[in-house]
Symmetry: C2
Subunit: 170 residues, 2 copies
DNA sequence: AGTGATTGTCATCTAAGATGACAATAAGCT
DNA sequence: AGCTTATTGTCATCTTAGATGACAATCACT
């Protein structure tokens, strides 16, 4: 296992979890985006499709909240996915302001491929450590995510901070 | 400890290390930038000062390599820090193309304050887990960072990918 | 009916990253 | 010495991503 004191790595910040998380997080997001690009998708698209596969018919606001992004951003995501015919905006049965977002048939196909990409990405990222350590790492990260109050979120940057619901000035 | 299977969190991606890293990494970087803002610094400035405090007189290219950023970006970092009188460009003793970057007296003062900010940030980020887990988490992250070939890096986004030295086309 | 919040949308502003070009200088080869 | 190639710092530009504010339509509450 690596030297925790980190003076050995030569980098003055390599011993800080905050720094390592920033680095690895940026790398992970960047790398995942690159892997997803051939499918014509960005991480946000993937996240949205994943959320929809768990429950269709939600409003854009609800989806945005669940993903931890601003509803303004959701408009673009839905636009792009709708243009590709992967989802559709239907009339919301209970609220005429809102749209009910639904998956189309072709979406499941693409989602499957994207999930395989995500699995590959995950596997390569964790290739260096053993099974037990993976499990423990994920548990630790989940714990941190909960404690910091991070929303479910998507890969893209945080809107402003955790708990951003509708909007949120500093 | 959190549920590793993650089906319980409600988020379809909460069980993936890649996703958690992206989320937490973005949060950490964002939060750190916000804490650093009152000092008039960005994470890159902090990283540069930290690197310089370990060895002055290096060329911009060398510093950029060590930090994992492109030399074009380094120009801006050095410009801003030089304008504030924290560092200075001297003539490189061995290469007339290059500059030798040195810290000024006022820099140490600010660096100290920035380090305290970084310590606070680190402490709050890890507030949810115990001492042993922190140590283990950092070790795991360091291992991942080494395995993925990440350079020393700074908080800002990766230039293109790990191993970016001078430049690097896809 | 009226008041204030919420939803989806659009326009805009800013910051960040990537890319390509360039002069000055270095390093190596013949 | 001369020639060629690589490197350093710099600048300009292009593309994104993110944040912010505004707005009409609709809802919820009184």
């Amino acid at each position: 296992m690596a030297d925790v004191t980190a003076r050995a790595t030569g980098h003055p910040l390599a011993g800080r979890a905050s720094f390592l998380l920033s680095q690895l997080g940026a790398y992970s997001a960047h790398e995942f985006a690159k892997r997803l690009a051939p499918l014509g998708m960005r991480p946000g698209h993937f996240g949205l499709l994943m959320h929809l596969s768990r429950g269709e018919g939600q409003s854009q606001q609800r989806l945005a909240d669940a993903m931890g992004i601003h509803r303004n951003v959701m408009v673009g995501l839905v636009d792009e996915l709708e243009d590709r015919g992967l989802i559709e905006r239907r009339r919301h049965p209970a609220d005429r302001r809102a749209h009910a977002i639904h998956l189309t048939g072709t979406a499941h196909d693409l989602l499957g491929r994207a999930q395989r990409v995500a699995d590959e990405h995950e596997a390569e990222l964790l290739a260096g450590i053993g099974e037990d350590d993976r499990t423990y790492l994920i548990a630790l990260l989940q714990h941190l995510a909960e404690h910091t109050g991070l929303p479910s979120g998507v890969h893209p940057g945080l809107n402003d901070n955790p708990l951003s619901t509708t909007s949120r000035r500093c």
